[in-house]
């Protein structure tokens, strides 16, 4: 994982805090940028760039927790590492339960901070890769019309053409032609590959869900 390909967004109303955090992060090889308020981040940030958020809890205007909720609403998937001056256990637990990757107390231990950031970025990277794969598979699958999908579903269950024709009350010819077209669309050549394809499609859902729940230890 190349740290420099990630952008760490620091959201804190105090500029000097950004300076000191930036110092450590750059030593760790990360790229950084600064937003003074949560609204600035929402308006100006391009969240497609992979990275993470270093978020202060107590800010004027929208607080860190409120930003977390807003990001969930907009389905911004950037991971959040909270950085707070207060050791508020309840706040921390709630924040993490709501999806934060970590909750650190100022001043943070340098290694801990870098480790949290790294972990968060890695998770994001994996997540996005999985999502991308899922997207591609879905695109292929949605090329099929309903009839073809039906046939594919039965082929994956190891039914022969004749059996499929009986079940769907079709001519065997129709079944065979549908099957061929579907294979071509999915860019596969045999039933085994189909089985892999469908298996993989399901697996991705679980993996993505699991990754979403995974947090730093």
């Amino acid at each position: 994982m190349n740290a420099s390909s990630f952008l760490i967004r620091v959201v804190d109303d105090d500029c000097s805090v950004y300076d000191s955090l930036r110092f450590i992060l750059e030593v760790g090889g990360w790229r950084t940028c600064w937003y003074a308020t949560a609204r600035d981040f929402l308006e100006k940030d391009d969240w497609r760039i992979p990275g993470a958020l270093l978020l202060d809890v107590r800010m004027p205007g929208m607080t860190g927790v409120e930003l977390q909720h807003e990001m969930q609403r907009r389905q911004i998937d950037l991971p959040i590492v909270f950085l707070s001056a207060h050791a508020d256990v309840e706040l921390a637990v709630t924040a993490v339960q709501n999806g934060a990757d970590d909750f650190l107390i100022k001043p943070p231990h340098a290694e801990k901070l870098l480790a949290s950031i790294a972990h968060a970025c890695e998770r994001l990277q994996n997540l996005r890769a999985l999502k991308q794969e899922q997207e591609e598979m879905l695109r292929l699958w949605n090329k099929l019309n309903d009839g073809e999908k039906e046939v594919m579903g039965l082929v994956a269950k190891d039914f022969g053409n004749k059996e499929i024709a009986n079940l769907l009350e079709l001519k065997e010819d129709a079944v065979r032609s549908r099957r061929a077209i579907a294979f071509a669309k999915l860019d596969i050549s045999n039933a085994l590959q189909l089985s892999d394809f469908l298996h993989r499609k399901d697996q991705l859902n679980d993996q993505i869900a699991a990754l979403k729940k995974a947090r730093t230890s």
Partner: protein, 600 residues
Amino acid sequence: MMDRVRNLFVCWLCVCVAAGWGSALEAQAKTVVQIGLLDTFAPNFYIQNFAPLVLSLRSRYPQYQIQAFSLDPKRPLRSQFSSANSFIVMESGLALMHPELELEELATRRLTGEQDAAHSTGAVFIVRADSPYRELSQLKGAKAAAADAGDFSGWLVALGEIASIAPNPELFFSNVTFTHWSFPDVSDLVKIGSVDVGILHTCELEEAIRSGTIQATDFRILSEKSPTASGCKRSTELYPNAMFAAFPTAQADVVRNLTVAILTMAPAIDGSDWVTNNRLGAVRRLMKTLQMGPYAYLRDTSPQALLLRWKTPILMIVAGIVFLLLHALRVHMLLQRRTRQLRQEALLHEQAEEAVRQSQRKLDRMEKAGMAALMASMFSHEIKQPLTNVANFLNGILLMKKLHKENEQKEEEALQRAVTETYRAAEIIDRVRSATRRDPVRKVLVDLNEVAKQALQHSRCRRLASENIHTRFADHPVAVIGDALELEIVLVNFLNNAMDACGAKPQIAIRIFQAASEACAEVTDNGSGVSANRLSLLGRPLESSKPNGLGFGLAIADSIAEAHGGHLEFKNNAEGESGFCARLWLPLNDAPSDAPDNAK
């Protein structure tokens, strides 16, 4: 001469009676009618009025045997009559004096010229023409003469007149001579000067002048009023004169016959006749004034009589008084009740106010506590920022070294930034400090004993029973310079800490004493004492051993002690006793006349 005339007529009457007697013997069945005369009239009355009356009746009613005679006033009147058909001629006024006779008034004599019989007769006061008396009132204590004490038209009427100018008319004159119609008569006595004033009937004077007995110029009349209809002079009110009355035993026929006869009789020589419409009001009034006759009871001034007479007004007054008393009582009770109500309301009001004040105080205290917590929180948050930054910069440098990513320029920058941040932290601390700086201490003379007493009242120790708390104040005032309230805060803090430290059987002692040039307020307890470790931490803020404490109590106490030029001392009790001892040392103010500015 009067007597001679009278005697003549008496004889003549006897002759008539004798003649009548003869005829009476013939006719035994004739009704006997007796007419008695109570002669208190003027001498001419008998000749001019009574006798003609009797004769007229006799000639009118020959069927009656009419007997006429004079009555003896000294004997009971009724007993002097023997017939049932008895009639009496007497003065109208006198009849009122004898209500027991139950006389029925039939007719009253009316004088010439008068409209009615009620104003016929009165009296005159005569004095010698040369006497000095001009007014009736001047006659007080003088000597008087009158015909008879029972003479209505004379004496009694005169008394009535006197009653109108003086009380107790009977005691008006010093001496009264009654002539009883004999010689010398009243006018004689006045003329010769043995009395100062004489009382005559009206017209008696004129009669005497006419008959030549006296000269008009000899006498003068006092209190002269308008003359009577017949022209006689008078000094008094006028009253009815002669009355013809029947006893209740008289038969109705006889009464009617006689009445008719009298009323229809021709007038007498002097022009008087008899009428029925008499009014006795004036007579009654006179009787009442003189308290005679039916009004004799008025003379009874014994308490029982007075009570009976005035019982109606007395009853009303008593009722009025009772009503007023009851009213006053009721008002009093209402007032009491109302006062009680008001007092209760006032009490409730006070209690409510006190409750409000207490909650207000509680609120203030909570606010202050909240503010302290808030300020502490704000301060801690603010100070964390620069400290975080310093940590970050220094950590970053360490990391650089660890990862072998040395960069001298970057290091220097980071170190510079770290230093700047420490200055920033110091600034924040300064700002907070100046916001909470104490006012300079007020410098007055304060007695430490008094401070200790107040502290006991205001600390949690006030709830202790007396066997748990011991006070050993100095027997003389221990004077220090400073602010009594702030010193009190220190001792309250010591006492509260002692309370908290003690367990089930607290024994807390507070002692004030002097040592050299210092004064000391000491609080000892029998709690568990304080470990040596904590002993060194005492007075440092935020190091409280209490669950909710900020540890400020002793820190504030410390700053107060310092501001007063003193210090705190803490130690565990001596070997053998558990417990803690906290002391506040202050410089003693040994020069009592020191001006406050010269405090050490």
